[in-house]
Symmetry: C3
Subunit: 364 residues, 3 copies
């Protein structure tokens, strides 16, 4: 399923390699089974791993592949039975996927080092903007008057920060992100390329044969530890704030309308659309391309399947699917029955005939 | 539902406050009931309003909240019965929502003053471009040869205007908008961040085992008083023009394919997609995430529900819903019946059994 | 359906006109019927063509319009019967649409000439980037360290090319395209405005009450002859590569998640979403707004209708439709039967009554 990444790679033009000791230090295994002298230079799926690769058992259904895998080092769960081959090492860790993430984070830091602090000479920064000395303002960014940029925050390139906008510490804004005037971003927030935060909400009053604009004078508030994908749009409130709660993660091309309040630790998959003034409580999960109507509340832990369309309030922990959305089990059942509609129509037809005959018989 | 906006706000770094006289001047009420000396410094929903807030009765169902609201000034409809508390004032206006919009517009003008005319030194503007002296070309914009920018039009920052493109008067283009070569925009048009106008239509001829590109040498024409949201895409025509009619409003992440003609005063909600060569007559409304097939005509006043999928012509004023789209009332009825499918299958099963028994009885 | 393009046009500020000999040279007709001295200055549909226009019979159903068309020159298929009017010329060509594309390509080259090679002084280009001498780096582009830009490739303006990214020869990247670090683009690739290639995949591990980021350290590889629309998002792999195969064409606002592999010569229409780790084999066609689940394989030649939602593997050449997707013919049938549900419920109700009566009768 997954191919491999070569860490020692001419294309990357750099060398990253892990000794067994390095890996042990990073993942802190409960048990080390076997040993290897090999320098780990790649990560790969069990079946495609090479002798200088690290691999991992993330899903029990691939258990049989551990035995035949050539990987030098394999991350396996605590109860794992079986022994490594010669010159191979198993690291038993609580959660192999999480352990792999720790290693990837190390690679990420090596490949993508923190940039030097300072303002690139090509950036256009208003003299009244308050920019931390440890922040990095990359080339061709625009930072308007009265805005604030926190410690170690990195605007990569071509970013726009509007008047009186605020960004906290340790944030990363990718190229071509737009943060509108008076919007506010917390700490450790990551925003991917092309995302628009604080465009006007879509509000008009129809009068005299045309749509008169309702001014949108509120803002957008993004809390700490939020990550937002690429080409997302989050509209500013009519008044007050459109809010994204702490720890929420938003995928690419998502639309969040004005006055929406998204709770903490929600997951919004790609191409989701949320209509105006709707509230998502904490831990809500919306599947890809799903749509949520306006002025409703999704209770804590609500899950919506991919492509589902929801227009009414939900109960805590509900799992809904389909368009219009209904409880998951009911939707699955109806999907099956729909495919049997041709048969049902035939049955009813045949019933009618039988009944007509029977009627004739009983009349005679 | 709606929280509040603080107008006197350290965050905003500025003070806006309205005296009762100011508000009366802006909304020109039919009747003033009561009076207040308080400076209005915020706008809030009735239930959450503070003693220095303005509020409004936009929807009759909140009528009871007027009595208990602490707001200093409340906008109410003409026939409203009831008296303000001490130091409180009711302004009776034809349309409280529209009156509020007037006040918000005043705030908007104060918060976001018109920029000074001129070309920012970091912008890259071709010497053959014709730019009005009253226009503002913000930092890091690119304006190519032969283009025209009208009076008081504002390209905020990092906007791209292609060769021979034209923009009329009093327009506002947000950061990172792209207007392609030879495309044309009317007067008083607002385009939000990240929107792409004039990318190539999606047209290929399949031959010799691959898709050969059909050149897209037409343009895009946007008429007066159009507003376009963020990260929208409008493709240029194969030849001739893709057209957006006067007064039409387009929400975020909408896709409009080549050769589409959108009439006047239409509303296209977020994430709508319109396929090539389709025509929308005037006053068409498309709900969020709805999709419209190619080469069809939506008659004047057609309404399409959220998420609906339409592939055939419509009649004037039709309201369609569902996927595939059908008349709204029929769709609502079918949705209800679908949920009763499990029961219907059971009924038919039981009918068959009863009938079989009856047949046996009558045969014996 | 299609209006017309004026080639000699004050707006365009330039003159392009074709003599009959020019057109014959471009389309190399099998037969020339009639003749004209007129300079062809526009392209138009048969019914709306003017005496100085070129037109074409692309679809047999418009055959009758050829006789009454005023066009100076008409492209018609080989077997076409009928003679041109005086001063009119028919060019008989194998495929009139393809012949028209050749003429449009000639117009395109005239309207949009190749830019001069070189790096615009406002671009920010790292000294370690390897840029071909024949490449054009337009205004306000950012090209980071270690990247490579091939021969005759054109970054139009405000493009971002990340560290160690590679772009082949003869590519065109429209304004505000973002190509992330270590991503790779082949030859003759066209990428429209606002598109984001190489943003992080959407991957988190839920632990300790929050979503911990899974680092995305892979890349994106785009093969030769790919065209990508506007405001598209293609995520980098977790490790290894997200891949787009040779000759594939992608429309606007499409989302391609991490680790997806798209085969050769696929067509992905606007607003399509493909979930993580899914494979599209060659010649797959996805209709507009359709969605594809994660970790599945779409076999060669699979077709998915507009708005369809697919969550399981397909067989070669399958045509699927609906949400959830099912074989096209079955889906069409079910759609028809669904509309007859109100009638079916009535029938079953009436059957029950008849049966109850019959039972009573037979019991008595």
């Amino acid at each position: 399923m997954i191919a491999s990444v070569r860490l020692r790679n001419n294309f990357f033009g750099m060398q990253i390699a892990f000794r067994l000791e390095d890996l042990i230090e990073i993942v802190a295994p409960k048990e080390v089974r076997g040993s290897t002298e090999v320098l780990v230079e790649g990560i790969s799926a069990l079946s495609s791993a090479d002798v200088s690769d690290l691999s991992f058992l993330g899903n029990p259904k691939y258990k049989a592949e551990v035995v035949t895998s050539k990987a030098a080092v394999i991350l396996v769960p605590p109860g794992f039975e079986g022994d490594p081959a010669d010159g191979q090492c198993f690291l038993l860790v609580e959660n192999p996927s999480a352990a792999l993430a720790l290693i990837c984070a190390r690679i990420e830091r090596s490949l993508w080092p923190r940039p030097a602090a300072g303002i690139h000479p090509s950036a256009v920064v208003d003299s009244s903007a308050q920019i931390s000395e440890s922040a990095t303002i990359g080339p061709l960014c625009v930072v308007e008057a009265g805005s604030e940029i926190g410690d170690h925050t990195h605007l990569q390139a071509q970013v726009f920060v509007g008047r009186d906008a605020r960004i906290g510490a340790d944030c990363w804004l990718a190229p071509q992100v737009y943060l509108a005037t008076e919007c506010s971003v917390g700490n450790r927030v990551r925003i991917h390329a092309g995302t628009v935060i604080g465009s006007d909400g879509f509000g008009y009053e129809f009068a005299d044969g045309h749509h008169a604009k309702v001014p949108q004078v509120g803002g957008v508030t993004i809390d700490d530890d939020v990550e937002i994908g690429a080409n997302v749009t989050i509209d500013r409130a009519r008044f007050s704030q459109t809010q994204i709660g702490r720890g929420t993660k938003i995928d690419n091309l998502v639309q969040i309308a004005h006055n929406v309040r998204v709770g903490q630790h929600c997951l919004l998959c790609a191409q989701v659309g949320i209509s105006g003034s709707t509230t998502l409580e904490d831990f809500v999960v919306l599947g890809g391309q799903s749509g949520v109507g306006g002025h409703i509340t999704l209770a804590q832990g609500t899950k919506l399947g991919g492509g589902a369309a929801l227009t009414s309030n939900t109960k805590p922990g509900e799992f809904l699917n389909g368009s219009p959305a209904m409880p998951y089990m009911l939707e699955r059942r109806i999907v099956v029955l729909q495919r049997r509609l041709p048969d049902l129509f035939k049955q009813v037809c045949s019933l009618k005939e039988t009944l007509a005959e029977l009627k004739k018989t009983s009349a005679s």
